[in-house]
């Protein structure tokens, strides 16, 4: 596994009709972030923290746009109140692309295990967010699947990526 292609992921995000991406870059998403900035169809916003980003995305959606959120698992931990208040509570179908910091190291048996690793999926389950894993181009279909789940349930849903993105 070496992650999904940033170019293919951006093309998919465009095909799914997303209009805006709210993204706080991290090491694993840097290629994706760069590819998004080159997209003529997508506006990219980088707020200062993830809770701020979720509220910004909620405002975009309420105003009629279709936002997509990229954040690391650590940012999801920071953004819990915003996710509750601006996504789950008011039934706003936000799609979160969550970077799983610590996953590659844990899978390779490297020590110490990043403390962000073990809490990621339990946290997502605690929020009752439907989610799928994205580990390579073979999994790219989960983005459309989770987008449909978010829209169908009017609730946030998540795609968790474990290996970052290749250019």
């Amino acid at each position: 596994m070496n992650g999904a292609s940033a170019a293919r992921t951006v093309a998919l995000i465009e095909d799914l009709g997303f209009t805006d991406v709210v993204s706080i870059p991290d090491g694993e998403s840097r290629h994706l972030h760069r590819a998004l900035l080159e997209s003529p169809e997508i506006e990219v916003y980088s707020p200062t923290r993830e809770g701020e980003g979720i509220a910004l995305a909620a405002g975009l959606w309420v105003g009629g746009r279709k936002p997509f959120i990229i954040l690391q698992n650590t940012g999801l931990m920071e953004a819990g109140d915003a996710l509750r208040g601006c996504g789950i509570g008011p039934s706003i179908p936000l799609l979160l692309l969550v970077g799983w910091r610590g996953y590659p190291g844990a899978m390779s048996g490297a020590l110490p295990v990043d403390s962000a690793f073990p809490y990621t999926e339990p946290l997502i389950r605690a929020w009752e967010l439907p989610h799928r894993r994205l580990m390579s181009d073979d999994d790219l279909g989960v983005i459309g699947e989770m987008a449909a789940v978010a829209e169908g349930t009017s609730k946030p849903a998540a795609v968790v990526y474990g290996y970052g993105f290749t250019p």
Partner: protein, 182 residues
Amino acid sequence: MLRVLAARRTDEVVITTMTATLQWPLVSSHPLDFDFLAFGMGHASDFGLGLALARPERKVVVLKGDGGLLMSLGSLVTMGRYGPPNLLVLLLENRSYEMTGGQPIAPKADFVALARAAGIDKVERIEDLGAFERELPSLLTEPGPRFVVLPVINSEPLPPVAHTDHTERVVRLRRGLGISPP
């Protein structure tokens, strides 16, 4: 101050949070009023920024307190970077967490200086109600983004909290904006 704003307001979205959510309904009942209470601590202006970006034809006014701003100070930087011309943030400065009992906040924080340092070009402080009344027409019509600090003292008892369902608030606002249900 809220009465002055309500009297002048026409088709602007007005987003309120914390104490303003209790007071604004006393002076306004409008399809484009949006009660942000319990949507996310400190994030009313972030939500307002997103809404203003999505609806550039519509003025978006955010009424938030200084205590709430301190919960998301980075919002100022994001507003400085992305704030569109149709965004107006009115910061109600009372130096306390009024809704939770009036606990004091940082007494020396200079919100005008913070907003300017964050990259927001149109920042001002309006000291009294007469000046606010005189400046309000331009605040509502001239392009921003604008960040206005308003020192306030609450002279009336707060009504009890009685808020509507979160989802219903969103549905109502989208309906007011002419957006069909998803």
